[in-house]
């Protein structure tokens, strides 16, 4: 029985071996290729890249395979790898107005320059299980537009900007942005730091926080000004070159929420914005993030901070699933030293309480 609480090297090695066996599953079933995960479980790859904060589809797919499809564990694997990488430079900001669009919709305008492009989405599907997928049925080719999408695809927020109806982005554009991975999170957090935190935050947590603002905890009145998904070029400007060069493309999802705002003591009535950006195709994450970003602006806008989603210490301290998962699960580690102290204390307190009860009874009897 003592062996159960004292691990020992051999027990751990055996645990690793049985894990490897469980991961492989029935050996008569063909092994899953990393390329298959990358190609056919694209949303899982996207989520792991976003929460793992590393854009590499192959490594994300490998992490998913290694974690048996446990996406939080996969994100953790990616983070632990990422942290050992040297950083040799920072890219220039990506320009999502120059995105090669795969999908772009606006809920605030029926039509707008560039048009509505539905692209690949589950939004208009009926959620009926498709038995056809049990077999390897061939996929008919999708129709393609005769001409490519309009390269001029202005963002909806920019349209409102022209009319002066939306609050300009706050913050210093030229200031060196803070780096969450190189400096500890401190409060109050600047918007750039908040957005970094949310971008790598757990999708479920960010979604729930955003959802709570729609249900009255934070009083949001959001419109999905625009959601767009596609690829953008990443550029760096090496010092010795003096001009920018492209080093590759990444796929991102961007959401600009437009929020009604009646004004406060310090601000006049206007629309305000919330911003969300996620690696890959992750609309749920980007939209949740945009809602939370707006809620976290309450302090700057002179609104009362009353709801959890408006409270930056609450949101930013609990959004990271690598931290949360580790700390919750560390309760599996032995705690018998502390528990022993508590046992002694409880026994003592109970004994004293019983004495106190017994004493008045004795007095009454006398």
């Amino acid at each position: 029985m003592y062996v159960a609480v004292k691990g020992g090297e051999r027990a751990i090695a055996a645990s690793h071996a049985v894990l490897a066996e469980a991961r492989r599953g029935d050996p008569s079933v063909p092994v899953l290729g990393v390329d298959q995960i990358e190609q056919q479980l694209g949303h899982a790859v996207d989520r792991v890249m976003a929460e793992g904060a590393l854009y590499d589809r192959t490594l994300a797919a490998l992490a998913i395979k290694q974690a048996q499809g446990d996406l939080q564990e996969a994100a953790f694997l990616l983070r632990a790898y990422r942290t050992t990488l040297p950083r040799f430079c920072a890219s220039l900001p990506i320009d999502t107005a120059r995105m090669t669009i795969a999908r772009r919709i606006s809920a605030t305008y029926k039509d707008l320059p560039g048009g509505q492009i539905l692209g690949p989405t589950y939004d208009y599907t009926h959620r009926l299980l498709d038995p056809g997928l049990l077999d390897d049925a061939p996929v008919p080719p999708a129709p393609r537009a005769a001409e490519p999408a309009d390269p001029a695809m202005p963002r909806v927020a920019a349209l409102l900007d022209q009319e002066g109806l939306i609050r300009p982005e706050s913050g210093d554009r030229d200031a060196e942005p803070p780096d969450l991975t190189r400096d500890p999170l401190t409060f109050p957090a600047a918007r750039a730091l908040r957005l970094q935190n949310l971008a790598r935050g757990d999708e479920g947590f960010v979604l729930a926080m955003g959802y709570s603002t729609q249900r009255g905890y934070g009083g949001a009145h959001p419109f999905a000004g625009e959601v767009r998904y596609g690829t953008v070029a990443v550029e760096i400007a090496p010092e010795e070159l003096g001009f920018a060069i492209e080093i590759g493309d990444i796929a991102v999802t961007e959401c600009q929420m437009v929020n009604q705002f009646a004004g406060s003591r310090t601000e006049k009535p206007q629309f305000t914005r919330g911003y969300g950006l996620a690696f890959g195709h992750s609309e749920r994450k980007a939209m949740g993030m945009a809602l939370v970003d707006r809620a976290l602006m309450s302090r700057e806008l002179g609104q009362d901070v009353t709801a959890p989603a408006q409270d930056e210490e609450f949101v930013l301290s609990h959004s990271d699933n690598v931290e949360a998962s580790g700390f919750v699960q560390h309760l599996k580690l032995p705690h018998y030293v502390d528990f022993q102290s508590e046992l002694e204390l409880i026994r003592r307190l109970r004994a004293e309480a019983e004495e106190r009860v017994a004493e008045p009874n004795r007095e009454a009897a006398e």
Partner: protein, 293 residues
């Protein structure tokens, strides 16, 4: 020697330098929590990532490392962390407190008194002693800055008013160098007195919370209490069943389903050393003593 593809002791040198800077600041201001840019480690947060980063930053090829969890060298996480450094730094490891130059610990301070030159690295889940009383970091930092510890004293007073005694039994807050209230990590309050004026350097790492703090050698560490309710550490009122020690912290082991209990030293090195010296407890020879006996 070390793991191919990775730097000595896993972390890159820039990261180690950043951690060492935080450590120096921590040593200069005993008990003050220094924010540091904690890295993801290949172990989960809450499993000793802070302690591991501190150890990685201070360990050298000539160091001898001991890792304990709950006082024992053979608990799963202690084994895992010891193996991590054997693999990534190729250092010599030991289970003997007296042989170690660096001891990484979770939840205990060894019974054998530490000596000058030794470093004790604590794994810390929650570095902020005031957190349970005030959830906001902005507030607690202000309270430390102003040495405004009234909230903590009120909590201790309320314990006494309600229960007749302070109801903290582990992670019992201490006042370091007469200035900062500090969380000693979840060691039993039994261990608190060992921190006071210890000749060893005590370093504390909280990875998830991104804080480092320190108690330099020979620094005053007082457990908070009142004049009329002095600090009183607790332990089970029994001798160790295996080695008969009466002055060590004991684990309670349930040996059957009829209420049978056996008390044994939590510090396995202490117990083994005593038994090797011929000390025997009432249950000497019990299976708990391990295969060696």
């Amino acid at each position: 020697m070390s793991l191919p593809g990775y730097n000595f002791a896993y972390l890159d040198e820039q990261t180690k330098r950043m951690i060492r800077r935080a450590l120096l600041k921590a040593v200069a201001i005993p008990g003050y929590q220094v924010p540091f840019a904690s890295r993801e480690m290949p172990l989960a947060y809450g499993w000793g990532t802070g302690g591991m980063q501190v150890t990685a930053a201070v360990i050298g090829p000539d160091d001898v490392l001991k890792v304990i969890d709950q006082g024992a060298d053979d608990t799963t996480n202690a084994v895992s962390i010891r193996r991590f450094f054997a693999l990534t730094a190729g250092v010599r490891t030991t289970e003997r407190t007296v042989e170690a130059t660096i001891i990484q610990t979770r939840h205990r301070i060894p019974e054998t008194p530490l000596t000058a030159g030794q470093i004790l690295v604590y794994q810390v889940p929650q570095p902020e002693p005031l957190r349970k009383l005030e959830p906001r970091e902005t507030e607690t930092r202000r309270m430390h800055a102003l040495a405004e510890y009234g909230l903590m004293h009120v909590k201790l007073y309320e314990d006494i008013a309600r229960h007749g005694r302070i109801t903290l039994s582990y992670d019992y807050p201490v006042l370091v160098n007469g200035r900062h209230v500090m969380a000693p990590s979840p060691i039993p309050s039994f261990d608190n007195p060992k921190m006071h004026r210890s000749p060893a350097l005590q370093l504390f790492g909280a990875g998830r919370e991104k804080r480092i703090y320190a108690v330099p050698p020979y620094t005053s560490v007082e457990s908070l209490a009142f004049e009329d309710h002095p600090f009183h550490p607790w332990k089970a009122n029994a001798p160790c069943g295996l080695c008969g020690a009466t002055d060590s912290y004991l684990d309670e082991v349930v040996v059957d389903d009829r209420g049978g209990r056996l008390f044994v030293c939590s510090d396995t090195d202490h117990c083994t050393t005593r038994r090797a010296a011929g000390h025997r407890g009432a249950a000497a020879g019990h299976a708990l003593a391990g295969a060696g006996e």
